[in-house]
C-alpha cells in the first residue's frame, strides 16, 4: 500500500515528488480560506474547476501509483494514499463500472471548515469529489471528461455524513490539457548565511514523512490540520480563480482577487509558522540557536526548507523591511507546468506566508513565548499595530531565476 518513505526528498531543489506529482503541505486555515474566497465570488462558476483541479492532479498520480496493480490492489492504493495525505477516509470497495455512491464521516474539508468559519450552507468537499472521479477513471479506464461527479451531503452543513456520487456520463467538471514536466531553475543560490542553518535543516530532513494521516485520516500537527496536497491541484485553484476574476472585471478583478490570495497565505504563515515556533520540536532542535528575532526567521526558513516548498532565503532583513527569495518555489513551478509563463508574479501563497512570518516575529510577542494561535488572536494582531505590506517583485514564470518578495511597513 501507499508508503511515503518510498519517495525521496529532493535536497537539491527542496522538493518532493510522489508518483509524478509535486506535493506540498498546506494547513486547514489556508485551504479553507482559499476555497471560501473562491466561493465568495458566487458569480463565477467555480464548481467545475474546484472539482476538476483535484481530479486532474489525482488522476496523474493514481495512474502511476496503480500501474501494474490489479483492481482490488489499486482500490486499496487509492484509499491509502488519500488517507496518508490527510484528507480523511474513503471506501472504494463498492465502486463499480457504473460508479457508485460513497459515504464517509472522515473528511478534512468538512471537518475543518466549521472549525474555522462555522457551519456552511453548501457542501465543501470538492477535493474528495474530484479524487473519487480520478480513482474511478483509473480503476475503470474511463476518461475524466466522461464522468459526472457531485457531493450531495456534507457534514459541514450539519449532515451526518458526506456523500459523493460518481457515474458515467457527460462530464460535469473541468478537464485540462496535458501538463509540461517540471523544469527546475538550477542557478546559484543566495545562501541563508546563518551558522546554524545546516544543523536545523539536517535535524528536520525526512521529518515530512512523519506527517501522514492517523487512523482517522487526519494530520493534526503544530495546532493545525495539515494536508499533503498536490501542488498542481491547489495552485490551479488560485490560477483559475484569478483567470475568472480577470474575465469578470479585468485588472480590477485581479486586484481584488490578489488581496484574498495573499491573505490566505498570510493566515497560513501566521497559524502554521506560529504553531511550528511554539512546538516541542522547535524548542528542542531550533530554539537553542536563537538569539534575536531575526534568528527566529532564519531558523524557521532553515526548517521549512525541508518541507518541499523550495529553498527560502533572506536578502535583507530588518523590522521595517525584508526581502525574501525562494528558489524553485512550488507556485511558480506549478504555473510553468500548467500554464507556462505569466505576465506578473503569481506566488501569492509564498508571499503571504512571508508577510505572515514578519507579522508573527515583529508584531507579536511570540518570541517571548506568547501563544497567539486563535482566530481572535489573529484578528487582534492584525488590528493592533501597523501591518506589513507585500510587493511581489520577481517570479520564475516572469522569466526570473527565483521568486522574490518585499515585505515592508
Amino acid at each position: 500500500m501507499f508508503d511515503i518513505h518510498r519517495y525521496k526528498f529532493d535536497e537539491t531543489h527542496n522538493a518532493l515528488d510522489v508518483a509524478g506529482e509535486a506535493m506540498v503541505f498546506h494547513c486547514h486555515h489556508y485551504m479553507n480560506y482559499l476555497q471560501r474566497s473562491i466561493l465568495d465570488a458566487d458569480y463565477i462558476d467555480s464548481r467545475p474547476f474546484l472539482i476538476g483541479a483535484a481530479a486532474d492532479a489525482a488522476w496523474y498520480q493514481l495512474k502511476n501509483l496503480c500501474a501494474g496493480l490489479d483492481r482490488d490492489a489499486a482500490r486499496r492504493m487509492a484509499e491509502s494514499a488519500y488517507k496518508a495525505f490527510g484528507y480523511g477516509l474513503i471506501d472504494l470497495s463498492t465502486m463499480t463500472e457504473d460508479g457508485g455512491e460513497f459515504s464517509t464521516v472522515k473528511s478534512f474539508f468538512s471537518r475543518t471548515w466549521p472549525m474555522k468559519f462555522g457551519p456552511s450552507t453548501h457542501p465543501v468537499d470538492f477535493y474528495t469529489t474530484g479524487y473519487l472521479a480520478a480513482a474511478y477513471a483509473v480503476l475503470f479506464d474511463v476518461p475524466l471528461s466522461e464522468i459526472q461527479a457531485e457531493q450531495t451531503h456534507c457534514m459541514a452543513c450539519g449532515e451526518r455524513a458526506n456523500v459523493h456520487l460518481i457515474r458515467r456520463g457527460a462530464g460535469n467538471f473541468a478537464t485540462y490539457p496535458a501538463k509540461a514536466p517540471t523544469r527546475f531553475k538550477d542557478v546559484p543560490k543566495h545562501a541563508l548565511n546563518w551558522a546554524h542553518e545546516s544543523a536545523v535543516t539536517e535535524a528536520f530532513l525526512g521529518a515530512h514523512a512523519h506527517f501522514v494521516g492517523n487512523e482517522e485520516g487526519y494530520i493534526p500537527a503544530f495546532g493545525v490540520y495539515l494536508v499533503r496536497v498536490h501542488s498542481d491541484y491547489v495552485n490551479r485553484l488560485q490560477f483559475e480563480f484569478m483567470r475568472a476574476m480577470g474575465e469578470v472585471a479585468g485588472e480590477y478583478g485581479e486586484t481584488l482577487g490578489r488581496e484574498l490570495l495573499l491573505e490566505a497565505g498570510h493566515a497560513c504563515g501566521f497559524f502554521t509558522y506560529g504553531g511550528i515556533m511554539t512546538s516541542n520540536e522547535w524548542a528542542q532542535a531550533v530554539k537553542p540557536y536563537l538569539h534575536s528575532r531575526e534568528d527566529w526567521i532564519r531558523g524557521l526558513l532553515s526548517l521549512i526548507n525541508t518541507m518541499g516548498w523550495g529553498y527560502h532565503t533572506i536578502i535583507e532583513l530588518s523590522p521595517d523591511r525584508a526581502v525574501f527569495r525562494n528558489y524553485n518555489d512550488f507556485e511558480d513551478l506549478s504555473h510553468a507546468r500548467l500554464y507556462g509563463p505569466s505576465r506578473h508574479p503569481i506566488h501569492w501563497a509564498n508571499s503571504g506566508g512571508f508577510t505572515g512570518l514578519m507579522q508573527l516575529i515583529y508584531n507579536t510577542d511570540l518570541v517571548e513565548g506568547q501563544r497567539i494561535d486563535t482566530e481572535e488572536g489573529f484578528r487582534q494582531m492584525r488590528r493592533a499595530k501597523r501591518g506589513y505590506k507585500t510587493r511581489m517583485t520577481r517570479g520564475i514564470t516572469c522569466g526570473d531565476d527565483y521568486l522574490e518578495v518585499e515585505v515592508y511597513r
Binding site: 458566487d42 481584488l256 488581496e259
Partner: protein, 78 residues
Amino acid sequence: MQDAKPLFDWAQENGEARIVDRILIRLLPEMLRQEQRITAQMIEEQPSLAVSDTLYAQLLTVTQELVGQTYPGASSHV
C-alpha cells in the same frame, strides 16, 4: 449619494482581516454595473467614498452579513 467610508472603517474594526476585500469581491458585479472601482487601498487612503444609495444599501447588507453584527450607523445612513 452616501459616504461608504465609515461603513468600511467599521467593518475593518469589527470584522476579520481583509474583510473589506471580501465585501468588494461579493459586490463586484454591482460595482461594475455602477462603474465603481473601489479598492482596499482607496478605502485606506481617501477621506470619503461617495457611492449611490443603491450601492450603499447593498454594501450595508453584505457588510453586516460578513461582520455578523448590525452597523450602529445604519439608521442614520439609510
